[in-house]
Each structure stands twice: as structure tokens, then as C-alpha cells.
């Protein structure tokens, strides 16, 4: 079975758009973080699809790096969330506007 490259790319576009919308739409910071993961995965799908299309392993290697970096990002991000929650007792993004100019 051979899926034409446009289909995974279209799926990636959809996932990316949903994730991007979620980042803007949701208040809860932890869900925003999940939406970022969605967007990263959309990018990964693009990488893998194009890697197959171009016959280049570099695309899959890039996905490897993205997965690794995402793990690091989530670890640090959730640690920050824990600290933030212990300060404000909430994860509502509106409550973290103390850098307002």
C-alpha cells in the first residue's frame, strides 16, 4: 500500500491548525502545552512523509531529534507549571500576566 504524499501532508496541516487554534483558544496552560505537542507531531508527520517522498533518512533523523527535544521541553514545562501552580493555585493563563508592560 502506498499513500500519496499529499494525504499525510494534509493531515499534518489539519493537526497543526487544530493545535495552533488550541494554543490560542484554551486558557489552561497545561492544555496549551498539549496543543504544542500536537503541533510538533504534525511537523513530525510532515518530516516522515517527505523523508519517504525524497528517499532521505535525514527527515526521520529530524523526527528523532524533535521527539527528544519535546521530551525535554515537557519535563521543564511541567516543572515550571508545578512551581507556578504552587504560587497561584491555578493554571489559568490569564492569571499569569505579571509581565504586563
Amino acid at each position: 500500500m502506498n499513500v500519496p504524499v499529499e494525504f499525510p501532508l494534509g493531515l499534518a496541516a489539519a493537526l497543526f491548525a487544530i493545535g495552533a487554534f488550541g494554543v490560542v483558544f484554551r486558557r489552561s496552560v497545561i492544555v496549551v502545552l498539549m496543543c504544542v505537542e500536537l503541533m510538533l507531531n504534525a511537523v513530525n508527520v510532515t518530516f516522515v512523509a517527505l523523508a519517504r517522498e525524497l528517499g532521505a533518512m535525514a527527515g526521520q533523523t529530524a523526527v528523532f531529534f524533535v521527539i527528544t527535544v519535546a521530551a525535554a521541553e515537557v519535563a521543564v514545562g511541567l516543572a515550571i507549571l508545578l512551581v507556578a501552580f504552587s504560587r497561584r493555585r491555578t493554571l489559568d493563563g490569564d492569571q499569569f500576566a505579571s509581565l504586563r508592560g
Binding site: A14, F16, T61, I67
Partner: protein, 162 residues
């Protein structure tokens, strides 16, 4: 093709659950669903190793971490789900435009695409390893440093201040 459509629709359904469900636990489970479908797509696209890695790291570690934090903080379903209405609408419009633009861009023909049969062993552990430890050795090593920094940073942040 049928498999792809099933998987793709499940993935989008999962993503929508992430974005729209009030309960963060369901959001996380929706994320797992999507990630799992992405793993299947990887497998369909000649990347079996990445599919397994995706399950191990994303489903097995990252989302579990999300769930763990949600449970640790005992987060309730949110009463105020969304951002203010104008922001939400603007986000919807812009995200829709972006999705459309990306999808449209993917129809632009690629230079050097579809050069016939893939090389033997494409996507196998050996080929990924050759790429990782060959051309991308430096990024690989830097990633390990990044992980170390992340571990130290997470520990420092999460540690109780005595």
C-alpha cells in the same frame, strides 16, 4: 488507503478532544489517541522504528507525565474553558487560514520527489543509526547535553524549597 483514512480521522478526532474537552484528563487521553495514530502513520510511511519510538516516548512517557501532573494537582474540569470571544474567533480564523495555506502548499510539486523505489533498509534501525551517528553526530551529542540540562532544570524547579 482505507487504513490511512481511518487513522487520519481518529487522529483528528483525538486532536479535537484535546482542544475542546473541559476535562484535562480527557484532553490528555485525546492526545494519546492522536499520538498513537501518528505512530501508525509513521509505520505506514516506512518509519517503523520511529513509530515504536513515538509510542515509547510520547505515549509512554510524555503523556503519562501530563496525566501525572494533572492528577498531582487534582485539576478540576475547567469552568472557563476558552479565551475571550474576540480572541477565540481571531484564533479560529487564523488557524483555519494557516491550515488551508499549509494544505495548499503541500500540493505544490516537490523537486526531486518520487524517485522510484526507496533504498533497501529505508527506515530500519541501521539506516537511522547511520544517519544519527554519521551526518548528525554533533546535533545528537548536543541533544544529550540538552536533555541533561532539562533534567537538572526540572529537578531544580520542582524541588521543594526548604
Amino acid at each position: 488507503m482505507i487504513a490511512f483514512w481511518v487513522v487520519a480521522l481518529l487522529a483528528i478526532a483525538g486532536a479535537l478532544v484535546v482542544v475542546l474537552h473541559r476535562n484535562p484528563v480527557y484532553s490528555a487521553l485525546g492526545l494519546v489517541l492522536t499520538l498513537f495514530q501518528v505512530a501508525v502513520i509513521f509505520a505506514l510511511l516506512e518509519a517503523p522504528l520511529l513509530a515504536l519510538l513515538q509510542v515509547i516516548v510520547y505515549a509512554g512517557a510524555i503523556v503519562v507525565l501530563f496525566l501525572f501532573v494533572i492528577m498531582l494537582l487534582a485539576l478540576e474540569p475547567e469552568k472557563r474553558l476558552a479565551a475571550p470571544f474576540p480572541v477565540a474567533v481571531a484564533g479560529l480564523v487564523l488557524a483555519g487560514l494557516l491550515g488551508f495555506a499549509l494544505a495548499a502548499a503541500s500540493t505544490v510539486p516537490l523537486a526531486g520527489a518520487g524517485q522510484g523505489a526507496l533504498p533497501a533498509g529505508f527506515g530500519s534501525p541501521e539506516s537511522l543509526a547511520a544517519s544519527l551517528f554519521g551526518a548528525h553526530l554533533l546535533p545528537f551529542e548536543l541533544t544529550s547535553v540538552l536533555l541533561l540540562v532539562a533534567v537538572v532544570g526540572a529537578v531544580v524547579l520542582a524541588r521543594r524549597r526548604s
